[in-house]
């Protein structure tokens, strides 16, 4: 038994499991909820198995079909991909537990198969080592995400899903044109082979521009973020959580991977540009969030701002790209936990009051204490207060900015934190107040409250486990991360 577990090919299983689960849900809609939950739980275990293998034997590589790159397709997982897989599995499990009680039977029949296909697509994406295979997984992710967005069938959901679909397809095509140019320049779509052959010339530059633009559109980097707030605000709460926590991270991961492996050496100007756009995203997204009167739009604009932090790693990456990637992945994980908790909490508040107007929260803190605690704890991470994951990630980023003398970026980060505090306390403040016209409240299933709270607690715990996590992504980071955490505790 032990031998089977140690030798099983967990990377492939992580992809095949949710694919099979999705097809089962499609063929037998009656069992979709059970089959869906079992599949997601099984994926968590399979990711754990993969994690154990990677810790013991180093990076995972599987040559699909036995051909090997560049003719065939390789699957590849190192610490960074494993970290993204863990994020997807854990956050996905939390959201699945929530979705179990959230959806009515009509929507559940569609939610489960599409969500399992989305999970398969994300896992396949994080395991891909081939830029054309990445395109296929991107298309899968996009179509599944759009379908989930439109699930309620309300007009705002339909039109934002339409906008989302157009943006996704345009982004994919720009990315694919970049793939075409890289393939015809270097004769391979395998990332490792490309890394050996690539020379900075005009073709590679054009590919870099097209792929970065397409992926930035899919990641909703300001000013290409126009599609995100309406889509994330009008989708059902568990779907908003999936989109904000996982789907935007998928395209960000590809960009990060391409940067680390292919473009970092020669594209310093572009990384400056990405950093500037990230800084603009932090300021614009936070200010917009502050202006919103509805919780879900507020949380969605907060996602635009938090995506900005991820892009700040590019200008800071020049000194040590491994370090920056580790910080970005860690920030992505802590944002995934915190933001999914926030969207789920917002879903509870909507279920409870029938609306998500912030000014009308009507003593939610007394009537839904778990949900408001979840929102507050997640808020701690979004604001970047210790001891949360958001704090450690942003602290490391700030540290890197200051040590490189980038005071402008450091200032933006601090202002972003203050603005985040503004919009989160705005919500919490109203949660304590009594509304002018009290209205009846509906009960919220306990499972939905606990799912939100557990994810929020996870975002705090992540901060306490920083050293272990950095040991996984990048060994060099351990010292830095440990130091940063220590400095805070002693200060």
């Amino acid at each position: 038994m032990e031998a089977i577990l140690a030798n099983a090919d967990w990377g492939v299983i992580v992809i095949l499991l949710p694919l099979t689960g999705g097809i089962v849900c499609f063929l037998w809609p009656a069992v979709s909820k059970t089959a869906g939950l079992i599949t997601v739980a099984a994926v968590v275990l399979a990711v754990a198995g993969l994690g154990r293998q990677i810790m013991e034997h180093g990076a995972y590589r599987h040559t699909v079909g036995g051909w090997g790159a560049p003719l065939g397709i390789d699957l590849f997982a190192d610490g960074l991909s494993l970290f993204m897989l863990i994020m997807t599995a854990l956050v996905g499990l939390g959201i699945s537990c929530y979705a179990k009680s959230y959806f009515n039977p009509r929507d559940a029949v569609w939610f489960w198969p599409v969500w399992l296909f989305l999970l398969a697509a994300l896992n396949a994406l994080f395991l891909a080592a081939d830029i054309f295979n990445l395109y296929v997984t991107l298309e899968l992710t996009g179509l599944a995400a759009v379908t989930l967005t439109a699930l309620t069938g309300r007009i705002d959901a339909l039109s934002s899903a339409m906008r989302y679909l157009l943006a996704m397809l345009a982004g994919s095509l720009a990315y694919l044109l970049g793939v075409a140019l890289l393939y015809h320049d270097s004769g391979s779509v395998d990332i490792a082979t490309l890394a050996q052959r690539i020379e900075p010339n005009a073709t590679v530059w054009a590919a870099l521009g097209l792929m970065s633009a397409g992926l930035a559109l899919k990641t909703a980097l300001f000013p290409l973020s126009f599609w995100l707030p309406p889509a994330h605000a009008s989708a059902p709460a568990p779907v908003s959580a999936l989109l904000s926590a996982l789907v935007v991270k998928a395209s960000f991961y590809i960009l990060l991977r391409l940067w680390l492996e292919l473009f970092a050496d020669f594209a310093e100007g572009v990384s400056t540009l990405l950093g500037l756009l990230g800084a603009a995203a932090i300021l614009w997204g936070s200010l917009q969030a502050l202006r919103q009167t509805r919780i879900k739009l507020l949380v969605a604009y907060s996602t635009v701002a938090q995506i900005g932090y991820l892009f700040l790693v590019y200008p800071l990456a020049s000194a040590s790209s491994g370090l920056a990637a580790g910080i970005a992945a860690y920030l992505a994980f802590s944002h995934a936990l915190a933001k999914s908790a926030m969207f789920l909490a917002a879903g509870n508040l909507m279920r409870f009051g029938g609306h998500d107007r912030i000014a009308d929260l009507d003593r939610a803190v007394q009537r839904l204490p778990l949900t408001v605690s979840a929102f507050a704890l997640a808020g701690v991470s979004i604001m970047g207060l210790p001891p949360s994951g958001g704090f450690t990630g942003k602290w490391l980023l700030l540290d890197a900015a200051m040590s490189q003398g980038r005071w402008d970026l450091a200032a933006v980060m601090i202002i972003g934190g203050l603005l985040a505090a503004g919009y989160i306390f705005k919500v919490l403040g109203y949660a304590f107040m009594q509304a002018k016209e009290p209205h009846d409240a509906r009960a919220v299933p306990a499972g939905m409250e606990w799912a939100a709270l557990l994810l929020a607690v996870g975002s705090i715990l992540l901060g306490l486990m920083a050293s272990e996590i950095f040991a996984l992504i990048h060994p060099d980071l351990v010292a830095n991360a440990g130091g940063a955490v220590e400095r805070v505790w002693t200060a």
Binding site: T147, A150, A170, L176, Y183, H184
Partner: protein
Amino acid sequence: MSHAFAYALVGAGLFLLGLYALVAYAHLLRKILALNIMGSGVFLVLVALAKRTGDAEPDPVPHAMVITGIVVAVSATALALALMLKVSGKTGQAVLPGRHQD
């Protein structure tokens, strides 16, 4: 200079033409047509440059990629058309509501 490059340049032109129409026109059906033309442009670049093998058979790998790409394109088009009809069924117009209506 071979024909391959000429077709690849046409492909790049189609991509940019489609991109222009995607941004510049509001009607959803036109945006969907624009995405299809952008897609054809990308496929043309992929396949045209695969012909740089001289007298030998062209490189089959981009051909396979384009065949899968065409199938993705028709699936995405069908989904987009369905969404467009749902949007126009509710609003009476096949355009996206402006941002001021958020």
